[in-house]
Symmetry: C2
Subunit: 91 residues, 2 copies
């Protein structure tokens, strides 16, 4: 069962939020990755990130202890959406 | 059948080179990712990269046309080894 938070997909087993972003060139991809790194350092949250030349995929795993996606993890996802909205991503 | 180039692993189906790096903190991880981005821009080669707070994994796919890992792809792997050697990575 998938519920999209914004365009995040919430998946089960294990519970996680996933989102993929597409970019028109590597420069945009790199700028987005820089912004993500800044959010990670500001929040102490480090999602699993995979990327290539023009795509970035993020996975925010549920809290290990509770198995639930915590509010501050959803906040992290929202901050990612904000920087994506500021980028001309075609996601 | 796995042959390690340095500590790259060469895998089959599909043919590719893989290597994982571990770091002691996110700052080191971020520096390494920056250096990788510089090599990608310099060579026009963009491996599949996934990372978390203290690890980075790279996959260099074989050339789509030939199905073989080309010399310049191996050169890319060597350049990655050089920057890793310059970092205090515990890979």
């Amino acid at each position: 069962m998938t519920t999209a938070q914004g365009t995040w997909k919430e998946r089960k087993r294990p519970t996680r939020l996933e989102r993929r972003f597409e970019f028109s060139d590597y420069e945009e991809t790199r700028e987005f990755l820089e912004s993500l790194a800044d959010i990670s350092e500001a929040t102490g949250r480090y999602p699993d990130i995979s990327f290539g030349r023009t795509h970035v995929s993020l996975t925010i795993q549920a809290d290990e202890a509770t198995g639930v996606i915590a509010d501050d993890q959803r906040d992290f996802a929202r901050r990612v959406d904000e920087i994506a909205a500021a980028e001309p991503a075609m996601a």
